[in-house]
Symmetry: C2
Subunit: 413 residues, 2 copies
């Protein structure tokens, strides 16, 4: 992609009202644009990051046998009445609910348990139809009172939600562990060190469920975790012990951002929506449910909160919008321009995703500020000084070095 054609260009100034780091950096670098409080357009650069994350999640979930689909966003009241949640005061606070001009009542999706249960109620007949694991990437709406954390907490955002249905509690817990492992792999692949943190059981279990938390100064959550082993608990259930109950090492605490959660739901929704199956003896049984969420836009915000410096974003390679930011300097000289264009095309031909700053005019300093702000992993410079070689600098390193095109291609693969 030519930077001269990219929409939009970077901004010099921090947007007014942007309090959080992710909001400031993502807006200044041209990844997102705010439509209103808590609602953002994912601009072309931001959308590229989104698609890369989506693809990683799709691969990992498909690998364990999940099936992707897409459920609607506008929900009729009657289905939400079945679970009783339509009239729950906590729900009424965050769910946009309204009547249309024909007095029909609708709510906008903030989660999909009722809808997925409604769908399953039509199709699940026998124990042979289970287990089934269904997921979608989908817009969610939540009428948050305050929405000041950039894309960490929006009124409109994208989530991956997965729902699993089972013949028994045992099968549910077995899949719960399988999905937990897939989640660990997903966060690792997007470049995040997410801790599996024990949390309160919620609607169904008295035991622990799990959240995936990423340490970050700006996080709204606090977790307590062992310095040595993988023991970790959220503030809600942590009992104040100074030593790890597993290995005896010291417990420390830190702010963190919740990037994913997994919930065993038991038979609450199957009973409410009538999702039952016939067992091997022909007896009707309730289906067991669990749900698993990853906040997609929140994940992008978390990456920025974790990976940035005073100059801008530092994207992990697996989710970066481009792999190479090729910076042409001295492009008013025909020979340099021709050289830079040649390298741009050769890199593309090698399958490398390149953003080429082809602008004539801006100074080297301006161009380098932009590369630092945008945060592509490899900055590659061609100028009068580079003399047929390529000057490479990784975004997260200080040193530059000179390499051939061949070496560069090897490096970025």
């Amino acid at each position: 992609m030519l930077y001269s054609k990219l929409f939009p260009k970077t901004l010099k100034q921090v947007p007014s009202g942007a309090e959080s780091v992710n909001h400031q950096l993502l807006v200044r670098s041209g990844f997102i644009d705010q439509l209103m409080a808590g609602s953002y357009t994912l601009l072309p650069l931001g959308w590229k990051v989104y698609l890369k994350i989506e693809n990683i999640i799709r691969e990992e979930l498909d690998k364990i046998g999940c099936q992707e689909m897409l459920m609607p966003l506008l929900h009729p009241r009657d289905i939400w009445d079945k679970s009783g949640r339509w009239s729950d005061p906590n729900v009424k606070e965050i769910m946009y609910q309204f009547k249309d001009i024909h007095e029909r009542e609708f709510g906008l999706s903030f989660t999909h348990e009722e809808i997925v249960a409604y769908i399953l109620s039509k199709f699940i007949k026998s124990y042979k139809d289970l287990p089934v694991l269904l997921y979608h990437f989908s817009t969610k709406f939540r009428n948050e009172l305050r929405a000041k954390s950039g894309i960490l907490r929006g009124r409109e955002f994208i989530m991956k939600d997965l729902y699993s249905a089972h013949i028994s509690e045992e099968d549910m817990w077995q899949w719960y562990e399988i999905v937990k492992k897939a989640y660990v792999e997903i966060f690792k692949r997007v470049g995040l060190d997410a801790k599996v943190v024990e949390a309160a059981g919620g609607v169904f279990t008295k035991g622990h469920t799990h959240e995936f938390q990423v340490l970050a100064e700006s996080g709204e959550d606090v977790i307590y975790y062992c310095q040595k082993c993988d023991f970790a608990q959220n503030q809600e259930i942590y009992d104040g012990e100074k030593k790890c109950p597993r290995c005896g090492s010291e417990i420390q605490s830190a702010s963190s951002i919740e990037v994913g959660n997994i919930f065993p739901l038991g038979t609450k929704y199957s009973q409410a929506l009538g999702v039952a199956y016939q067992d091997e003896n022909g007896k009707s049984q309730d289906v067991w449910f669990a749900s698993y969420g990853i906040g997609m836009t929140r994940l992008i915000g978390t990456l920025v909160e974790v990976f940035h410096d005073e100059k801008g974003i530092i994207w992990p390679e697996s989710v970066a919008p481009f792999t190479v930011h090729l910076v042409g300097l001295d492009l008013e000289e025909e020979s340099i321009k021709t050289e830079a264009e040649k390298i741009y095309k050769l890199l593309q031909a090698e399958g490398v995703a390149v953003l080429f700053d082809d602008r004539v005019g801006p100074s080297a300093g301006e161009k380098f500020s932009d590369t630092d702000l945008i945060g592509v992993p490899y900055r590659v410079v061609i100028s009068k000084k580079t003399q047929g070689k390529l000057e490479v600098k990784k975004r997260n390193e200080k040193n530059t070095h000179f390499v051939t095109l061949e070496a560069l291609v090897k490096m970025v693969r």
Copy 2:
């Protein structure tokens, strides 16, 4: 994918209230499920078709320099007040508009001209920033009075909308032609013979604009077109001539489905939202706009209306959820089962998308009914009778023939 694991299985009966062919077939074959009138879940098979179409469109639009992003669905009233459309009675009929519990007014997206203009107003400064072509695949909501055409006309559906912004009317028309050609290519690639049909100019031009129409008995539109050349007009502007004004051949008429449209918008939205640029002389000028839509879910419905027979759907290869539907018969015999599983794995290793009917129990007749209903391009049978060969039948042909695995792989590539 194993058919035994696929969610959901085919249905024996036509769902009640399903009047249109696409609704009947897509529900029976397990591609979609109705949540309420005009609102459908795209089930795993339907979602596979959707993603294939999305990918074709993405490739063709990126090829001409369009940039993908994602705009929000929940819009604040004030931006829609700027164009005056919030209070337009025609808009109020179809746009879901409501107040939240804090008395803030919102509307749900049925189109994005206002939003894209608002975004551009922040970033477009100079003639150097233009042209820019931005698109997204996004949910749309329309409060349709009747929603009886399956996924041809929904209350919630997915559209690809593209918006282009230009320095001049001339540039706008130039890009209009470029996008028109990309659209022709897109419809060709998804397997549809879409006619480019002249339509009334709409808000901006007194000349003609263009719709993309696919002939279909069930279509709500009527078009008049030349038997020999590519002249075609919609009912609204057709003046009743019997002979083609271009080549003199006979004009005929037919029902059709509109799958895409392209609209020059002029400066209406740039004036309303303040989208201006500085020209080479430093003078402020209005930006010229055009918009281009493709109904994504409608396209899936159209494919079914056009490509089906009394037994089920006949997907074009480019958008089929799988390329091969491998049917194992006599699977209770261990040697046949082993053979079928081997072929399934070998085909997958060759990169062929295979749906493998691995069920033990259903008769050959039941399995063949399912393959015909689902409509995957190649049916491949392994049974006692096939003796180490593969019995292949194309969904749109009558004859079966026996081939080796190697020949099959060549055939489906």
